[in-house]
């Protein structure tokens, strides 16, 4: 077995020392990369708009429409779902980076949308939600008359 220098000699065991060392390292990586500054939930969302609609997109690999619920109440968009672990029993995991479990993401939309016309499609693990803006929130082309 390889001997390594302990970072935190006050800890009772070498294993604890290694775990804490890793945790500190991960924390530093996170701070360097930046995401710790952002309030992130799952799934990550991109939202953009055109004159008529708001579009929200999320990457949800492995999910089917049966695993996801999307609803709009007032100006709040909610995405709920459950990502199941792989159906492998009696298996050994060498890496497990893909998260599993239930998730809920709620975002407040900046404009009113028409909840009856919201559409969600799921293709290749990408969820796209199209939310037509409510009549009063739409962009209007104003005819300019010459005086």
């Amino acid at each position: 077995m390889m001997m390594t220098r302990r970072l935190f000699p006050f800890l009772p065991t070498a294993a604890l020392d290694r775990d804490l060392g890793r945790a500190v390292e991960e924390l530093f990586n996170l701070v360097q990369r930046g995401p710790i500054m952002r309030p992130l939930g799952f799934p990550a969302l991109n939202i953009w708009e055109d004159g008529q609609s708001l579009m929200a997109e999320a990457e949800v690999p492995g999910l089917t429409m049966d695993d996801i619920e999307v609803f709009v109440v007032g100006n709040e968009l909610t995405i709920k779902g459950n990502r199941r672990p792989p159906a492998e029993t009696k298996a050994t995991y060498h890496r497990q980076e893909r998260g599993t479990g239930e998730f809920t993401r709620v975002v407040t939309l900046p404009v009113d949308v028409d909840p009856d016309k919201v559409e969600a499609t799921l293709k290749n693990g990408v969820l796209l939600i199209t939310m037509p803006k409510a009549e009063q929130a739409r962009a209007r082309k104003i005819a300019v008359r010459t005086a």
Partner: protein
Amino acid sequence: MSESIEKVETTRLGPERTRGGQCFVPNVDIIENGQKYLVLADVPGATAESIDVSYERGLLTIHAKVEPRQPADGVGYLLHEYGVGDFYRSFEIGEGIDASQIQAEVANGVLTLHLPKAESAKLRKITVKG
């Protein structure tokens, strides 16, 4: 969720790109199951036609091309938490894999690789004679 799902952009991994755009590291599970290894990789937006899986001299490489599908940067995003681009990752595979029998399939943005163990690496039960 039990793990961070933050999308990580590739830094030093893999060859340098000649094509523009971003490239990300897919999250993977690697599962050993008796006779084979399974690699599950999250590649949302990729299709069977857009994914290259290659195995050469012990290096298993996944490259999934993902075309931009959102407005270009700078166009009024109200929320922009992830980028869209290719996925790239490679693994060193020991000699315990039967390379000719590697299979790959993709469904719902998850790539599954089946890596059967070579005959010599399979677990054998040895009968102990009394």
